[in-house]
């Protein structure tokens, strides 16, 4: 009898896959696993995923500033006939006349954006609080969750890294670092049941803090994924083993911290721009100086405040149409993130990516500085997370992740140089959630 047999969580689990689950969860140094998840993939799902992976290998992002994606017209027609929010508006207008939507609309009533064709019985949910004040539950599907791997493999392949298949090793460990964190073990059937663990490095989840290194060495994972905060904590865990690569998502990764990770782990670090609403969107490439788009079925526009596309190279809000989450097809969805678009032989890239609406700061000489200049000024420092706030009187407060407080002096110096002779107050970020990176009380700060 297979003790891990669970047709809902692991519909295709084999005996060797079960052994992997046993190894991950029953290891003497294993953390407390607080939750359960599972790949939830059926045999039919796996066949569809195999085809998806195969097609993805052959496809490139086929649009640029002179032509729209070949699939876009049909996609819009499908959305207008199959998604309640759009169906109620009648026939589809010209693409650029379609009203943009934001997280607020999705958050107001997400059910209005789920196509009629989606079977609710197999739906899963990913909840996000975000930094915009609009908590959101994203409808998804086990296949959609599994497709993340396809895009990661696409990004890894650019570095010549092919993930190993088979149940004899651990494929990925997702690293968290919060007082409370969703943790579990699983196997990945797309990679022939290699192991997967989502762990929390916080001491709350370990019988003995020394176990962290021993356990991770025992797992010897091929890939670590996490955000700059959790990966920064991973650097404090003494490891004898090294991964093939690391993937950083969820927050901006500075060039300084990326370099520090790569030196420490002796492995490449992929900085992937990924959001819950659309999955992995782009991977940073320093030679291209931007995030190369990863999804052939995602059309990315850069728009102004009125939803009009801006010329190539100009900054604006990243706006998405299409995507692989068939439970939530996006149509001109404004992400709240900002960048410019440019085009390379390998495909479109997002340059100067920054979260949330641009904010201007006033220097000592009453000059305006765009927040992107703050990013550039601090780029060389290995900061896991930071935020800058300007008060009405012009005073600046820099918030730093606890792990980054050692760089407080260097940050102050860099910002004082940028702002003139102002003194910068540096405080520790108290919350574990993402923070708004750039904020200001000045009336004209939001352009």
């Amino acid at each position: 009898m297979n003790p891990f047999q669970d047709d809902q969580r692991y519909p295709t689990l084999s005996q060797v896959g079960a052994s992997m689950l046993h190894f991950l969860s029953e290891h003497p140094q294993a953390p407390v696993y607080r939750n359960q998840s599972g790949n939830k993939l059926t045999k039919n799902d796996l066949e569809i995923l195999n085809r998806f992976e195969h097609d993805l290998r052959l496809r490139a992002v086929d649009w640029d500033d002179t032509r729209k994606p070949t699939w876009l017209k049909e996609f819009v027609e499908q959305v207008y006939s199959n998604v309640p929010h759009y169906r109620s508006q009648g026939a589809p207008p010209q693409f650029h006349d379609i009203h943009t939507i934001t997280r607020a609309e999705l958050s107001h009533d997400i059910t209005d954006f789920v196509p009629d064709s989606v079977n609710a019985k197999r739906m899963i949910a990913f909840s996000t609080t975000g930094t915009s004040g609009n908590p959101l539950t994203i409808p998804s599907h086990p296949r959609v969750a599994a497709m993340y791997l396809c895009f990661h493999r696409r990004a890894l392949r650019r570095l010549g890294i092919e993930l190993t298949q088979g149940p004899s090793h651990v494929g990925v460990v997702l690293i968290g670092f919060q007082s409370r964190c969703f943790t579990y073990v699983s196997v990945t059937p797309q990679l022939a049941e290699c192991g997967l663990a989502k762990i929390n490095l916080h001491r709350n989840d370990w019988h003995n803090i020394e176990d962290r290194g021993k356990y991770l060495d025992a797992l010897n994972a091929e890939l670590y994924t996490g955000d700059p905060l959790s990966l920064s904590e991973l650097m404090h865990v003494p490891l004898q083993t090294k991964p093939s690569a690391l993937i950083s998502v969820g927050m901006m990764l500075s060039a300084g911290l990326k370099k520090q990770f790569e030196t420490h782990f002796q492995a490449p670090v992929l900085d992937i721009y990924s959001i819950n609403e659309a999955g992995p969107i782009g991977v940073y490439d320093s030679t291209l100086n931007g995030h190369l788009l990863l999804q052939p079925d995602l059309f990315v526009e850069i728009v102004d405040a009125h939803g009009n596309p801006v010329p190539s190279g100009e900054r604006g809000e990243i706006t998405l149409s299409g995507g692989f989450n068939f439970c939530l097809p996006l149509l001109r969805y404004r992400t709240g993130d900002f960048a410019a678009m440019s085009y390379t032989a390998e495909g479109p890239i997002l340059t100067g990516l920054a979260g949330r609406q641009p904010v201007r700061y006033k220097t000592a000489t009453q000059q305006w500085l765009n927040n992107i200049e703050i990013t550039h000024a601090l780029q060389h420092l290995p900061l896991a997370q930071f935020g800058l706030h300007q008060a009405l009187d012009g005073a600046l407060t820099l918030k730093l992740a606890p792990v980054s407080m050692t760089h407080a002096k260097a940050c102050s110096e860099a910002l004082e140089k940028l702002f003139g002779l102002q003194s910068i107050k540096v405080v520790k970020i108290a919350t574990e959630d993402k923070i708004m990176q750039y904020t200001s009380d000045l009336l004209d700060a939001h352009t």
């Binding site: 998840s37 599972g38 939830k40 309640p84 609710a120 899963i124 998804s140 969750a145 791997l149 990661h152």
Partner: protein, 194 residues
């Protein structure tokens, strides 16, 4: 509604003057005297068409609850179609067949035959509904006027909107419940978490 039809008043008068024979109880199972299937057969033959025997079975029923009102409305329609205007002007066979088989069934879900006789608004709706099914508009009206007036009166449109809104609410509830379930919130494996 691209073809000019008879004056609306002519049809309203015709409906009001429906003879008792056409208002008789339709034959359903062993009850009722009015053979609606025979009325439909005669109606189509008078227009020059030869209805298929299998198709005519749509107008034979053993289920009074499901079909009584529909057959009553079909019977009254055959009376309206016997008006001289319809005798003098050709009617498109497919539209006619579709109206008798499908459109009147839809109308019967939202309107009673007796309302068509005694309620002036429903009477006008019935007349306009028949013309619309046959791509006709009342004489003296533009296409837009005819569409607007029918929309304003339409019980079927109201019924459709109501049904859609009920269906939309049911679907929204289904999705909300699915997303709220513990199993959904346990989620599924992603290799990264944003």
């Amino acid at each position: 509604m691209d073809i000019v039809g008879p004056p609306l008043q002519q049809l309203l008068r015709r409906i009001a003057e429906t003879p008792a024979d056409f208002l008789d109880e339709p034959r359903i199972g062993k009850k009722g005297r009015l053979e609606v299937v025979a009325l439909v057969n005669d109606c189509l033959r008078n227009k020059g068409y030869n209805p298929d025997a299998a198709w005519l079975k749509h107008f034979i029923s053993n289920n009074p609850r499901a079909d009584r009102n529909r057959l009553q409305i079909v019977a009254m329609t055959t009376w309206v179609l016997a008006d001289e205007w319809f005798s003098d002007n050709p009617l498109h066979e497919l539209s006619l067949i579709s109206m008798l088989q499908n459109d009147l069934a839809l109308l019967a879900e939202s309107i009673q035959r007796d309302q068509c006789l005694h309620d002036s608004e429903r009477c006008e709706e019935f007349a306009r509904f028949l013309l619309n099914c046959l791509s006709l508009r009342p004489e003296g009206e533009t296409e837009l006027q005819a569409i607007d007036r029918l929309s304003a009166l339409s019980s079927t449109e109201r019924q459709r909107l109501l049904k859609n809104s009920v269906e939309a609410e049911r679907r929204a509830r289904e999705i909300r419940e699915a997303l709220a379930k513990k199993a959904a919130q346990e989620s599924a494996d992603k290799h990264t978490r944003e």
